[in-house]
């Protein structure tokens, strides 16, 4: 971790000409962008434009048809599962539905990634307590099963689990989807806080435009498998790109207009 922090480029993500198809359907068609160390990029776009697929490619859960993905300076396409695990230890991933292990308690879920570390049992428990507290979960919820807590809490537990290995890079898939506005704002604040406190590099797939405006440095806008625009929120809003301006100006308008 400290090694990662000492190298300013160590936690960067570089995507070049990334392509992915499922059968005849081209989901990603030549995506290129770079996320520099310590920056947060929000990936926006209409449903089904391959945003979640992009995150799964970044963490090696799916393989691209072509293109390059460099994480922390290392090319990850073509790596075998064991070599990928080395890279994955530097990355945290929050799934859209949290994907908590339903046979484990909240605390056991967060402790799961720590099972193969050298931490003692006491240190592990202390770390789990610290992580769950840092995402705003009270101790009374630690022993509950995932089914016994709300969707917002599940997202927080998922976030705590994603942070368990002290990742330098965080990949978040719809962190605020399905949450009430207050919970969504709290998750957004958590992401901002994480960025400030830990200097984490983050790629956040979201439909929450206000949230993206708050916690991201740069926005990347996808449409029909292409990257149509990238820049700050204000840049894109004022952009001459009609889709970008309409998407950020009024999401409903875009949906109805197509």
């Amino acid at each position: 971790m400290s090694q990662t922090r000492s190298n300013p480029n160590a936690a960067s993500v570089e995507i070049r000409d990334l392509r992915k198809s499922f059968g005849d359907q081209k989901v990603l068609n030549g995506i290129t962008f770079i996320v520099s160390h310590g920056r947060t990029v929000a990936v926006l776009g209409r449903s089904g434009t391959g945003k979640s697929v992009l995150l799964k490619l970044l963490v090696g859960l799916q393989a691209p048809d072509s293109g390059s993905i460099r994480v922390a300076g290392e090319e990850i396409t073509g790596l075998d599962p064991y070599a990928l695990n080395r890279i994955r230890k530097q990355m945290g991933f929050l799934f859209q539905q949290a994907a908590l292990y339903d046979s484990l308690t909240v605390a056991q879920n967060v402790a799961f990634p720590l099972r193969n570390t050298t931490l003692s049992e006491n240190d592990r428990q202390e770390k789990v307590r610290e992580l769950l507290s840092s995402v705003g979960l009270k101790e009374e919820h630690f022993a509950k099963m995932p089914a016994e807590i709300s969707g917002g809490m599940q997202k927080r537990v998922g976030l705590a689990r994603a942070l368990a290995l002290d990742p330098a890079i965080l990949l978040l898939d719809e962190p605020t989807a399905g949450l009430d506005p207050i919970s969504a704002a709290e998750i957004g604040n958590l992401i901002t806080e994480l960025k400030r406190r830990r200097g984490i590099t983050a790629v956040v797939v979201t439909h929450d435009i206000q949230g993206a405006k708050t916690f991201s440095d740069t926005l990347v806008l996808l449409n029909d498998g292409h990257l149509v625009a990238q820049g700050t929120f204000d840049d894109l809003r004022k952009s001459k790109n009609e889709f970008a301006a309409r998407f950020l100006g009024n999401g409903d308008h875009v949906s109805n207009g197509r």
Partner: protein, 273 residues
Amino acid sequence: MTGSISTLAPPAARPGGGKNDLKIVVVSVFEWFGELGIFCARLFRAFTSPYEVSELIHQCDETGSKSLPLVALAGAATGVVLSLQTRDSLIHFGAKSMLPAIIAYSVIKESGPVITGLIVSGRVGAGIGAELGSMRVTEQIDAMEVSAVDPFRFLVATRVLACVLMMPLLTLCADACAIVSGWIADTLAEPISLRHFLDNGFKGARFSDFIPPTLKTLGFGFIIGIVACFQGMRTSGGTEGVGRAATSSVVLSSLFVILADVIFVRLILMIYS
């Protein structure tokens, strides 16, 4: 691919499509075995440090202890039925004294291992297929991968090894229950001491009569574990897919246990005769 073999549904009949359907089924079967081979290769690579000992113990409990009542009951029922069915025939041929030996040999050499294999295929195979299938469709297995925990090491290796280790022990329990229940059924018809029954049953028994048939259940355990894990790990299609994975795990593992039994019996006869 999954459609043809995992649901075991015949291809839909179309006018003039018979040859194509047959071709698709044949290709699917070869694909399935090819993928299973790759799955096995990845599994063998997963048997390395760090070993998931606590999960293995948990799985041995799930596979062994929790299957024990069912296996014991099935074994006991087999012993009673064997005793009842065989007794009249043996009396008819004047070979009643052979009853203990017939029960002991048939249970230990064939009925015990196969019945245990089928019971474990049903109970454990369905459980593994549904559990891993459900974990797959809810992205829990993906979550494990991105946590840098190898799901093959944590989920597959432990379950396959638990099946392999527990099958011979469960088989011995089924055998014991079958022989004791066979004796009870026999002694109710005509009193005979358990010791006398066992002496008669195992008179002249050789190593090759009893040990290899029990050891073949190691192979049954591997088949049940690997097929159920394979079907579970490749689940797709939501809750319907989970149902398909559970069903196909049971159907395919039961089928392969029976086919493997034929091969094992032939091998044992070749080696020991």
